[in-house]
Symmetry: C2
Subunit: 448 residues, 2 copies
């Protein structure tokens, strides 16, 4: 009986063609993050389960995570998100860090869930967080960074919207304005979170069921439904338009507007991850009608670092998953054609050429060329076929004559042309080709 | 009660200063691998436990791995090495791949073991494998690649030796020459594997205990001890000097010599990972007397891909762990001083400057500069102190006057000098500084 060649269910093998795409996506995240002064960090994929229990979610731990007991009797969990981890790390050096701290990471995360489009059990997730800024500058920077990453992939503003809301505002509206108690407010938030996935009548009925008879008599349902129709800050109840939370949202929207981000909208129905967010929340939504869904988001969470027994740190962050991002890029035709990193395939002619060619191979590699050599000893045609199958742009032929003359036939495998050149000339031809064909290399970064 | 800020036992947090070092080590592995035409791949960190059971090691699975049952009743293991995984992946596309296949990966691996110097529960391991080459060219390339990576870190040949042996040769010597049976041979291999960690007399006594009375009478122990003293292929028993395995080893050593690798030695006592290797094995040993140990190694394993029910593929590979490598680089003084990737810290003066400075910040980022802005609203001195604490080389001051004139004061925080410049001039100063200070950037790769 032979072993299966399949990976574990809900997880992906990254063959070189897939890995290349991942590297393209990650390189862009790194490039843009570092332009904003963010520094990369990482942490172990296993965390003590307590880290997630702080949010009080034993049920989620049991049902949606990979949690097990190690042989020392400790309960460990494969990380499902990076926010608890990064909060732990900031807390661990609370006094030593120089604020504002800007950190990013691209961790591998696992969730035990039913697999579907955009959701696998295993995924990677870009995380960026700024610690130590109370002002709305932090929110502005987070959204600007997210927007720059999107634009870095070639996304146009009409391909996505950036939706904004505020947890503080919602709490205030549901409590002080609608006069709901905390339990009603929590139920309503969960209901609104799902409202776009159900018929409107069904939503209304379920919202009604949350209310008390007195609230029903007072017209609370109507007030709620009116609230949820609001699309601009100006349309909020008049007693709200000058509240600090609303002024802050307005200031943020003005700042984003002067940074020429034109696709920001206030969305009162945005109820994102309301477990640890303390104020502003945002989400980036794909406008493609076939994939009209939330791609990623974030917000302000000022309370998490404080859970570790140190003084709290104001924090704004967001996270972007690789699967959703890749779906977006595919559906908008933004994925570049990525080719192998190997520049040149060396085809060997004659006997014992492998050993004799080592000097030339070493020279090419020292020059920075990416060179694979065919050490199979097969016929020339077979060697060339292999290079073509691998998608390599150039083949170089090396035999006795070439080694004697230091002139090498360079064949362009895309168009079949062939010319003899010195290594220096070959280097410059390949260099030109690499510059025009590699979407990962940024011209500015090359210049630097 | 507050949460602990410690990571899981035996695993590491990578704060930016640690991550930078990891990125330096990994970037070098990637750079050199790609010069040899190797392509990066990856796979899920969880594998079905069967993948490791194929080697028949239930005891090792139970005691040295993180293995648990998922909620679907499947036994899964956090990968402990990459070789079974890469064999699975090659087998999965056995027919489609163009050979020779050259793949590399830098997976995160976990082993449940007592932590000690050079051994953690969590580590990263560079893996490089070449599939489809029967000839000794594959062994030559693997060792050349390993050697180039070492030299890429600045290692000198006198800092390490490359020890070579052959599993086929050992099998033949123990079976045909010493006339040991398979069980004796296996016991002896395990004993020799530990011989450098015990007094010689103790080794001799334990070797003697493996033999039968007849073997003792025939002088097998003496023959064994003589064999183990051999340091050159020429000193092997005369009936062996022309055996194909020995000729192959000799050819390999000649090829390495003509590639100017001067620190290769034949070591008959090398008994590395004898579970799946089928012929040549090698190890790289640190010559530092305080750390005189095997750092990493590999060899030929022609049988693994065939375990997945497809035609076997000849394979040579090796793997290099990050913890051992870092110890080596530290003990030989080869770790570069790595500084933050942030080029410039922007210090803001005056009111509402954050918003007004956005145009300039965007220009700097578009030029490829890595710019962190102080959005705290604190006094100038505090902002500058933060930049110094972060180890950033330059500060730029932005206030009303600078925004009006488009001339910005650039302060070199290392020497305190300060001059006003245009953005273009600042770009070129920072670019020069980055070129001379970043050990990750390879001058050849920049030229390309």
């Amino acid at each position: 009986m032979s072993l299966s060649t399949q990976p574990y269910k809900g997880a992906r093998d990254f063959y070189p063609e897939n890995k290349r795409l991942q590297k393209y996506m990650f390189a862009k995240m790194r490039e843009i993050s570092e332009r904003f002064g963010y520094e990369e960090y990482d942490a172990p994929i296993l965390e003590p389960t307590e880290l997630y229990l702080s949010k009080g979610n034993q049920e989620i731990i049991d049902e949606q995570t990979y949690t097990f007991t190690d042989r020392g009797g400790r309960s460990v969990t494969i990380r499902t998100e990076m926010t608890p981890t990064v909060s732990r790390m900031v807390a661990g050096k609370r006094q030593e860090l120089a604020y504002p701290v800007r950190w990013y990471s691209i961790p591998n995360l696992w969730r035990y869930e039913r697999t579907q489009r955009g959701r696998l059990r295993e995924f990677w997730q870009y995380n960026a967080d700024i610690f130590g800024v109370e002002g709305v500058e932090a929110e502005h920077e987070a959204i600007l960074l997210a927007d720059q990453i999107m634009k870095g992939y070639g996304a146009k503003p009409e391909m996505y919207t950036i939706q904004l809301s505020s947890r503080k505002l919602i709490d205030d509206l549901f409590g002080a304005y609608l006069e709901l108690d905390q339990t009603q407010s929590d139920m309503l938030i969960r209901l609104i979170d799902r409202m776009k996935k159900m018929p409107y009548e069904s939503f209304v009925a379920q919202a009604d069921a949350i209310l008390t008879p007195t609230q029903r008599d007072n017209g609370t349902l109507d007030s709620l439904l009116q609230l949820l129709k609001i699309q601009r800050l100006d349309d909020l109840p008049s007693s709200y338009t000058n509240k600090p939370t609303v002024l802050r949202l307005r200031q943020l929207m003005d700042m984003l507007d002067s940074s020429r981000i034109s696709n920001v909208i206030f969305d009162i129905t945005l109820m994102r991850g309301f477990d640890y967010y303390t104020d502003m929340v945002f989400e980036v939504i794909d406008t493609n009608p076939e994939n009209n869904r939330s791609m990623f988001g974030g917000g302000r969470y000022d309370g998490l670092v404080g859970l570790f027994g140190v003084e709290p740190v104001p924090t704004v962050g967001f996270a972007m998953g690789d699967v959703t991002l890749q779906n977006f890029l595919e559906s908008h035709g933004l994925l570049p054609d990525l080719v192998t990193e190997t520049d040149v395939y060396v085809v060997l002619a004659g006997t014992n050429t492998y050993e004799k060619a080592q000097r030339v191979l070493a020279d090419m590699r020292d020059m920075g060329l990416h060179v694979a050599v065919d050490s199979s000893g097969r016929k020339l045609e077979k060697q060339i076929k292999t290079a073509v199958k691998k998608g390599i742009q150039y083949a170089i032929f090396i035999g006795e004559a070439e080694l004697a003359s230091d002139q090498f036939r360079l064949r362009n495998l895309a168009d079949g042309t062939e010319e003899a050149h010195s290594l220096q000339r070959i280097l410059s031809i390949v260099k030109d080709h690499r510059h025009t064909s590699d979407p990962v290399l940024d011209p500015n970064d090359i210049d630097l």
